[in-house]
């Protein structure tokens, strides 16, 4: 713990005295931190320590908390007073130079109010928000859900916020804090999502608990009943702890609609991440401050693209890398993610198709980028990962989807056939995970890795031994990696599509078959795939829908589900089907994106 620096004071418009603490070089850019409830400025001790060698870090006790004085009436806790306090502190500690805001919980609610106020917003250069949305945005988000006939948002927010109702009761909440019952509940809440990490003790006083209750009573009802239309042009990044106990993720991405330059990153941890993950938060703040102060013209990020359809932007502010994005499931998944607000890096061995995917994705969502890459080339993958990090930041979602089809009996499959299949289908996924997982861990965890396997991974057949073998390996790799990355809140999903009508068959090699036979086989399979009629768009919808949840295994079509069930309940049936010789090869290979 660094020594708490001497407080200075800032006086509020209504004559209250706020305790303000400085660290670092006053000449450096200022990062101003606002704490939540029931905390005081000390919640930032860890983060400030990380930031103080580069920045002028200022923390202060919000009115009524810590060493600041408290208003006498409830109305003194209204949002406009809090936002005005914030602006006054910013003026006092960094006159003439906009500050970078970092705020948590109720501090974040206040900061949102300040940055979305036209009169105040010029004082702020950027805003990093943790576990605290703009009340007005949440209200609009719930309402638009209700308008669309979906009460889910209201219910999920209510479920996360039951305590808020309790805080509105007279005297009882105070009593619970004074008797220590509240403290026990809070202690339990603080441990959520922090198992395995050392406990960091909070330093709080009884007045933090008691006065802060008025924050809820003075603001919540008004803002939810009569939400304003509040937007801001400054860059905002929302950091969402993966095990956030007090709000659904959707309530935090809702801000994207009001913030053109919006980023959203999950981080592994619970609600009190500022205390438990100070290093991670400091790094994210540093990244944003660097970017803003470097004066790079910010790319508009989470604005819906010019041609976006109306709908929720569940992935607003997130960065997604998709391999094999030049066609099939990869391309469709890129479009689906883009339409939901994600920034896409489309990767394919075919430069033109990747560029085309990025081009169209930019119509639907934020400006996308493309990259030519052979996923089988480990060194190229490493270069690509470095480039992504430097140009776009650490991805929140990585989809290792590139793969190739290969059919034909084992006895006809040459070593060269095997090598190609393993290089692309298995090494491609290994390289993708190897290149990105470490940076995803380092940046705080909470990301998503999706690997395209196949239902061939659990449906043995003499028709496609090489393909099925590589895909079974992808499935097992995903499951092992999932176990390893679980402690970082990163979920690894293996997708097993089934028969999806993509370009995979056109590019499938039939080992041991001459051209005529292979062409006939392709024709027949192509027809089968077309008759089945399951489009890559439909598969992409399923995949993107599941990314948030991040299941271990995601079968897509009926045959993928059915095969999985059979493999578990009736392996003997599958032993029998494995012997079926196809006319030449009516393989039911699990398709994915185009060859990479």
């Amino acid at each position: 713990m660094s020594e708490t620096p001497h407080p200075r004071h800032v006086w509020t418009a209504d004559g209250l005295r706020l305790a303000v603490y400085h660290r670092g070089d006053p000449a450096a850019p200022t990062v101003l931190c606002v704490h939540g409830y029931p905390d005081n400025a000390s919640v930032w001790d860890g983060v400030a320590e990380h930031l103080a060698d580069r920045y002028h870090v200022v923390t202060y006790d919000v009115r009524g908390a810590g060493a600041s004085t408290a208003p006498r009436q409830r109305s003194g806790y209204r949002m406009e007073h809090l936002a005005d306090d914030l602006a006054r502190v910013a003026d006092a500690v960094s006159p003439g130079r906009p500050v970078h805001l970092l705020a948590h919980d109720w501090g974040s609610l206040q900061a949102w109010h300040a940055v979305t106020d036209e009169r105040l917003s010029a004082r702020f250069a950027s805003f990093t928000s943790i576990s605290g949305p703009c009340l007005d945005h949440v209200a609009h988000w719930i309402r638009s859900g209700l308008r669309a006939g979906n009460p889910g948002r209201l219910l999920s927010q209510s479920a996360h916020s039951t305590y808020i109702g309790f805080f509105h009761l007279p005297a009882l909440p105070e009593l619970s804090w004074l008797t220590g019952v509240g403290g026990l509940v809070l202690g339990a809440a603080e441990r959520v999502g922090e198992s395995g990490r050392p406990r960091v003790r909070a330093r709080r006083h009884m007045r933090d608990f008691l006065n802060g209750l008025e924050l809820y009573r003075a603001n919540i009802r008004d803002h939810l009943r009569r939400p304003g239309r509040r937007s801001t042009s400054i860059p905002v990044q929302v950091l969402a702890p993966t095990r956030e106990a007090f709000m659904p993720e959707g309530a935090q991405t809702a801000a994207a609609e009001w913030v053109p330059d919006f980023r959203f990153h999950r981080l592994d941890g619970g609600h009190w991440a500022p205390r438990t993950r100070p290093g991670v938060i400091a790094r994210r703040v540093t990244d944003l401050v660097e970017e803003v102060d470097a004066g790079r013209a910010p790319a508009p990020r989470a604005t819906a693209g010019p041609g976006a359809s109306p709908g929720p932007r569940r992935f607003a502010g997130q960065l997604a890398v998709v391999t094999g994005a030049g066609g099939g499931i990869g391309r469709a998944t890129a479009f689906e993610l883009a339409e939901q607000g994600a920034r896409i890096i489309a990767v394919d061995i075919d430069e033109q198709t990747a560029a085309r995917t990025a081009d169209l994705a930019s119509l639907l969502g934020p400006a996308a980028d493309s990259y030519r890459l052979d996923v089988a080339d480990g060194a190229a993958m490493d270069r690509f990962a470095k480039w992504v990090r430097a140009e776009h930041g650490v991805p929140d979602i990585v989809i290792n989807n590139a793969g190739i089809g290969i059919g034909g009996p084992f006895l006809g499959t040459t070593p060269a056939d095997w090598e190609r299949a393993i290089d692309v289908n298995l090494w491609g996924v290994i390289h993708g995970c190897r290149a990105f997982a470490p940076m995803m861990v380092e940046s705080g965890g909470g990301g998503r890795i999706v690997n395209t396997a196949s239902c061939a991974a659990y449906l043995p057949s003499r028709a496609f031994p090489a393909y099925a073998t590589t895909k079974a390996a992808v499935l097992m790799l995903s499951r092992c990696l999932r176990g390893e990355l679980a402690e970082h809140g990163i979920r690894v999903t293996a997708v097993c599509p089934g028969v999806i009508h993509t370009g995979i068959i056109a590019a499938t090699r039939f080992a041991g078959a001459d051209d005529r036979v292979a062409t006939a086989a392709r024709e027949r399979l192509e027809r089968l795939y077309r008759m089945r009629g399951y489009t890559p768009e439909r598969a992409a919808r399923r995949i993107v829908h599941a990314i948030g949840r991040g299941p271990e295994l995601l079968p897509i079509t009926g045959e993928a589900h059915g095969g999985l069930l059979l493999s578990r309940l009736a392996p003997a049936v599958l032993r029998a089907t494995a012997r079926l010789a196809p006319p030449l090869d009516t393989a039911t290979t699990g398709p994915q994106g185009r060859t990479a």
Partner: protein
């Protein structure tokens, strides 16, 4: 250019005249579209407009599709093609499609536009230009229809879109058009004029005997070069919730093929954007003049 046409010059001129009239109908009605108009109202306006100008019968009655219905999303049964109560909104794409019959001559046109601004629609419209050039070149080269269909599919895939004409009955990208000679009464069954249907079925049977089809799709029956005559060609491409198409007549002779008319709204649009047929699409083109001006004489829709 000298064409040994299958039909005489007068006939071709009459077909062209009716096609112009049908496009004029679509453009006039498009100019009256405003937020709140339903598909049914739009279709009815086309019908009225053309009947006022001497159209006596229909190969099929006018269709209007709004919003994601332009891409035939979630169409399972043919009934879904018929105009619904879907209302037009700002930024929505629309397609108007009609096939009037006058004095036995037939037109079958498709007109895509959007109300106000829609970048996805504009991009699709730009990219649609390539199909007009591709199709005529391949037909001229005498390629089998089935292979041309697949070429079109490959282009759609390269462009990142999906094939929406496969949703039409028979997955057709085109169908032959002939003069309607019929003694049946002018009745409409399921949106199709019975006299036209009679003609079409007659053609189907005759062509079938020659192992050909007046319907152009990707089945084995389409493994033949285009039969001389007139073909209504309708490539229809979609991306997410937006679909666009054009539909116009291609004249096929023994040794050549050409579009019946180049003086059509979509062709003029591409020419204005410097995009000849078949040139690769890039950049945005000017929005079609079909974007309705705000001052429009309001026409009451027939309830």
């Amino acid at each position: 250019m000298s064409h040994t046409t299958v039909t005489n010059a007068t006939d071709v001129a009459r077909f062209r005249e009716l096609q112009q009239l049908a496009y004029a109908a679509a453009q006039s009605v498009a100019a009256t579209l405003e937020p709140g108009v339903t598909e049914r109202q739009a279709a009815r306006r086309i019908r009225t407009w053309l009947e006022e100008r001497g159209v006596q019968d229909w190969f099929h009655t006018p269709f209007a599709w709004f919003g994601d219905r332009t891409a035939f999303r979630n169409f399972r049964v043919p009934l879904q093609f018929f105009p619904t109560g879907r209302r037009l909104e700002e930024g929505m794409p629309f397609i108007l499609d009609c096939a009037p019959v006058r004095d036995g001559y037939v037109a079958d046109i498709g007109y895509a536009g959007c109300l106000g601004d829609n970048p996805v629609h504009d991009r699709l419209m730009d990219d649609l230009a390539a199909y007009r050039g591709l199709i005529v070149a391949e037909v001229r080269a005498g390629r089998p229809l089935r292979e041309i269909y697949r070429e079109v599919d490959a282009l759609i895939t390269r462009q990142g879109y999906d094939n929406r004409h496969q949703v039409y009955p028979g997955r057709v990208i085109a169908h032959q058009v002939t003069r309607v000679h019929s003694r049946l009464p002018k009745a409409i069954v399921a949106g199709f004029g019975v006299r036209s249907l009679q003609t079409l079925f007659g053609d189907l049977i005759v062509e079938r005997l020659h192992h050909r089809s007046p319907l152009w799709a990707d089945g084995k029956i389409s493994q033949h070069p285009a039969t001389p005559g007139l073909w209504a060609v309708e490539p229809h491409i979609g991306f997410r919730g937006v679909g666009v198409k054009f539909e116009e007549i291609l004249v096929v002779t023994e040794d050549d093929a050409y579009w019946l008319d180049d003086d059509l709204p979509h062709v003029r649009r591409w020419a204005a954007a410097g995009r000849g047929d078949g040139e690769p699409a890039d950049g945005a083109a000017a929005t079609d003049a079909a974007a309705p001006p705000s001052t429009i004489e309001k026409r009451d829709a027939t309830p």
